[in-house]
């Protein structure tokens, strides 16, 4: 090792380390998005695509005009709601992976309004009520299991996702099926639909419902005693108990709030699409699948803050919307899957600041291991092989 380079190098490294670990959370998220896009570009380049053209197409397809913005925001709408599901539970100190299943139940409940007639508007509100009750009911079971039996909410919500998925398929095929088209569910009548905002797109008034939900949750979490209790219990359950907060109650509250937003997410899809739309059970719900899981990614990038989630959902909605354009653009179009790779890379990049925070520990561990192995040459290698 050169004596000269050592200190300057390490000082530089330490400086970089301090810069990265001291970043504002919003900047961390932006950095992660940038890294995700760079990873995508590198992969495109390796497979012979032109990343610049592809990203240009993606950018134009996502934010290039009013039609593109409408597509982006339409895709962002359910993501906002499922991201809220995940984040409100994280704030309460729990990992609710169940947004997907709760969203499916909400969607099925919303489709039920096709079974009866009601005046416009009221019909829509009844559908939303159905959806949020179904979502909340689906999330309350894991919460009760956790409180009464100590079942880990991570496991139970994942299991409930599978139950919900196959139950939804059963409902779509045997109960809410359109008699004339067996692969689809009943079509929700226009009286129970969100009006479309930009003609020719999926962008409907449901977007405002999602933004409204985010704002409501922001106020609940930071400006009401209930939210205060949820956050206190999430950060330090013992101190919360000392402060007279009933932790079981905060768990139930956060799961209920999460179930409500997830149920609404399902409703915004089936009730927010153009009037001809019906859930496509035969194709295993292409519009619904993964909205719950993508919401978790949005929540992470949005730092579990309702306002951050709105911003992050515009990014993810844009990737989804622009990805469609990317795959039709130019002579050598980039497949849609590339967008999912970029999303995955962004989520992974989100953990970089945490990793860098751990870096000194990892480095010293490694150095010590090498030193130990070198010091006890033989005996160490004997132990290692044993």
């Amino acid at each position: 090792m050169s004596e000269q380079a050592g200190p300057t190098q390490s000082r530089l490294l330490r400086g970089v380390h301090r810069t990265v670990t001291g970043l504002h959370p919003a900047l961390e998220s932006m950095l992660a998005a940038l890294i995700g896009l760079l990873v995508g570009a590198a992969l495109m380049y390796m497979w012979g695509f032109n990343p610049w053209r592809a990203y240009w197409a993606l950018l134009r397809g996502a934010y290039g005009g009013s039609y593109e913005w409408a597509s982006t925001l339409a895709r962002a709408t359910p993501l906002i709601l499922t991201a809220l599901t995940f984040s409100v539970c994280v704030r309460a100190g729990m990992f609710n992976i169940g947004a997907e299943g709760q969203m499916f139940m909400g969607a099925m409940a919303a489709i039920c309004v096709a079974l009866f007639k009601m005046p416009p508007g009221i019909h829509l509100i009844v559908g939303l009520l159905f959806a949020l009750i179904a979502g909340a009911a689906w999330s309350i079971v894991p919460a009760v299991l956790k409180i009464t039996r100590g079942v880990s909410e991570v496991i139970s919500t994942i299991m409930f996702n599978w139950i919900a998925r196959w139950l939804a398929l059963y409902i779509a095929i045997f109960i809410l099926v359109d008699p004339s088209r067996a692969e689809k569910t009943l079509t929700i009548p226009v009286s129970a639909r969100f009006p479309i905002l930009v003609r020719g797109t999926d962008f409907s008034y449901s977007f405002f419902l999602a933004v409204f939900a985010a704002l409501v949750l922001y106020f609940v979490l930071w400006h009401t005693t209930m939210g205060y209790e949820v956050r206190a219990a999430g950060l330090n359950p013992t101190a919360a108990r000392y402060g007279g907060i009933r932790n079981k109650r905060t768990m139930i509250v956060s799961f209920l709030l999460g179930g409500i937003t997830a149920g609404l997410a399902g409703a915004t899809v089936v009730m927010g699409m153009p009037p001809s739309y019906a859930a496509f059970g035969g194709g295993a719900f292409p519009e619904l699948t993964n909205i719950g899981f993508d919401g978790m990614a949005v929540a992470m990038v949005g730092r579990n803050h309702p306002i951050g989630i709105i911003v992050a959902s515009v990014l993810f909605g844009g990737l989804n919307a622009g990805g469609r354009v990317m795959q039709f653009y130019g002579s050598n179009p980039v497949p849609l899957e590339m967008v999912r790779i970029v999303m995955g890379a962004i989520v992974l990049a989100m953990s970089i600041p945490e990793l860098i925070r751990l870096f000194p520990a990892i480095k010293s561990q490694g150095e010590r291991l090498v030193a130990a192995l070198r010091r006890h040459g033989r005996p160490a290698s004997k132990e290692g092989s044993a």
Binding site: R18, F219, H223, T224, T225, M226, Y228, E229, R231, A232, L235, N236, T238, A239, A240, R241, Y242, G243, G244, I245, R246, S364, E367, R368, L369, A372, A380, E383, G384
Partner: protein
């Protein structure tokens, strides 16, 4: 360095174990924790590191034990410059540190924690060997801990003993103890000091970080005083007077010798006045035949009965781990009692949750401010309403929090209780320990309670903050509140209380006026000697 205090390194020719040369430490936020500190540690000596909170004691020892790199300066041993990348490397070199906040795996037993500290990459953990070694070590040192109980279920004092055993089991040559006595009672302190002397005679160097003058004078050979990051004194214990040390430490002349010790002179007149108030006030807390179990399932509180009246401080002294924590938890709704009666102003409190108990006018200053008292990532304002967040004062229609009023309330608390912070939105973890405790005390006293349950309210605080909090408790008493004070600091209990109980294995050994007993008798009662044998 102060020229008047010639370094006592007369034995420099004996060779030294470790020397810190011109150590400066600047933290990344710009705080200068140490300025050009030079310190030499010899074999076979106990060095007391004296200074108020924030003087740089902990920083200096963290640098010596490899936990922190110095900004400038170096640490040398007779073999050359030493640079530790981690506490483990320092341990391999023979330097071990017992921190004020323990580094134990809560779900592991004492044996497992000790075995873990011996772990090497790819090596097998030998629990049986660790256990044998611990058994002999416990016999040798007189420190006893339950070996098969997860350490999180042990009392704080017991956990500290596990920490000391953990470091001792590594055969260290330099043992650094950060405020080791703040959780111990006199008897345990004596035992610890006996152990330290024995270790010294066996050739170990010891650094004892403390701000208690009496202790540092009773056990050390040399005293190093730090003040605001500067090493202001390095004197032989035999030549140091209490007054001189106190002066070095606080940097201002302190009049009267008792001021230097924890027992502040100003509190003595009040102690004289208290007989007038006596226990004639209204009965606030009534406890009868209370039985409670500890985390291990054994009886921790054994048929306790006592009353606390308005206008008195009822103190419970005793070695930590004798049921005090469990008693306090029962009275504040954090633990279910097995049987018995506990009422506040006639209302039964057993089986109620903390919120209902607070409503009866109970304020609780908890013993563990990081785990119980504060939500550290929360802001000052958010912490200031913990437990009172549902009060009408702070809660508007639809349960909205009235942040305007809350912030005004916090500013009042900051003024009234001298909390140093940048503002209501500063995170609680950015506050110093003393200010964190003032925040808790302020929050609880602002409840205008009928009774204050204070558990170790001054643990780990510097003299100024501790005295301030004691004065507040006395003031509350004088205003006619009932105060239940549980403390392992005997000086504190004796100076403050009107009636004293000594707790041992879940029972009161005696209940009397603090003047009825001398310290030796109290020490014996704490150690489990029956009252009739004592008197």
């Amino acid at each position: 360095m102060n020229a008047n205090d010639a370094p006592a390194n007369a034995r420099a020719s004996d060779g030294y174990f470790l020397r810190a040369e011109n150590i400066t430490k600047v933290y990344s936020d710009g705080t200068v924790a140490l300025r050009e500190a030079t310190l030499e540690i010899h074999p076979r000596e106990i060095v007391g590191l004296l200074g108020e909170n924030g003087a740089g004691k902990t920083t200096l020892t963290k640098i010596l034990s490899g936990l922190l790199p110095p900004t400038s300066g170096r640490v040398t041993s007779p073999k050359g410059v030493v640079r530790f990348q981690s506490p483990r490397e320092a341990l391999d070199f023979g330097i071990g540190m017992v921190h004020q906040h323990f580094a134990l795996v809560g779900t592991f037993t004492a044996t497992e924690n000790v075995a873990l500290s011996h772990e090497r990459p790819f090596a097998r953990i030998r629990l049986d060997q660790a256990r044998e070694r611990l058994d002999s070590l416990m016999k040798e040192s007189g420190l006893h801990v339950p070996l098969d109980v997860p350490v999180e279920k042990l009392a704080v004092g017991e956990q500290q003993r596990v920490e000391i055993l953990k470091v001792l089991s590594r055969n260290v040559q330099l043992l650094i103890l950060d405020e080791p006595t703040s959780v111990l009672t006199p008897l345990e302190v004596d035992e610890l000091f006996l152990l330290l002397r024995r270790l010294r005679d066996a050739g170990t160097s010891i650094i004892l970080i403390t701000h208690k003058l009496k202790e540092v004078q009773s056990v050390t050979d040399r005293i190093v005083v730090l003040r605001h990051g500067e090493l202001v004194g390095d004197v032989k214990t035999s030549t140091a007077t209490t007054e001189r040390l106190a002066q070095l430490m606080v940097g201002r002349a302190v009049e009267g010798e008792s001021t230097a010790v924890e027992l502040s002179a100003e509190q003595l007149p009040r102690a004289g006045a208290r007989s007038k108030i006596g226990s004639s006030g209204e009965r606030i807390l009534h406890v009868a035949d209370l039985v409670a179990k500890g985390n291990t399932g054994d009886v921790a509180v054994d048929r306790l009965s006592f009353d606390v009246h308005a206008g008195e401080i009822f103190g419970i002294a005793g070695v930590e781990g004798n049921g005090q924590s469990e008693l306090v938890e029962c009275l504040t709704g954090l633990r279910r009692a097995v049987s018995g009666i506990a009422t506040i102003k006639g209302t039964d409190i057993l089986g109620k949750d903390p919120r209902e108990i607070y409503r009866l006018g109970v304020a609780h200053i908890p013993e563990d401010r990081w785990r119980l008292g504060l939500v550290l990532p929360f802001t000052l304002a958010e912490n200031a309403i913990l437990g009172v967040h549902r009060w009408k004062e702070f809660r508007g229609p639809f349960s909205f929090l009235r942040w305007g009023r809350i912030n005004r309330h916090v500013r009042e608390l900051m003024d009234r209780f001298e909390i140093q912070a940048t503002g209501p939105n500063a995170p609680a973890k950015s506050l110093s320990g003393g200010n964190q405790q003032k925040l808790i005390v302020g929050r609880e006293l602002a409840k205008n309670p009928a009774i204050v349950v204070a558990s170790q309210p001054t643990r780990g605080l510097d003299i100024g903050a501790a005295k301030y909090i004691r004065d507040l408790l006395v003031e509350m008493r004088n205003n006619g509140r009932a105060i239940l004070l549980v403390s392992a600091d005997l000086d504190e209990v004796l100076a403050l209380v009107d009636r004293l109980a000594i707790m041992y294995e879940g029972r009161f050994m005696t209940e009397c006026a603090p003047t009825d007993l001398n310290r030796q008798q109290i020490g014996m009662l704490m150690g489990g000697v029956e009252r009739k044998e004592v008197v």
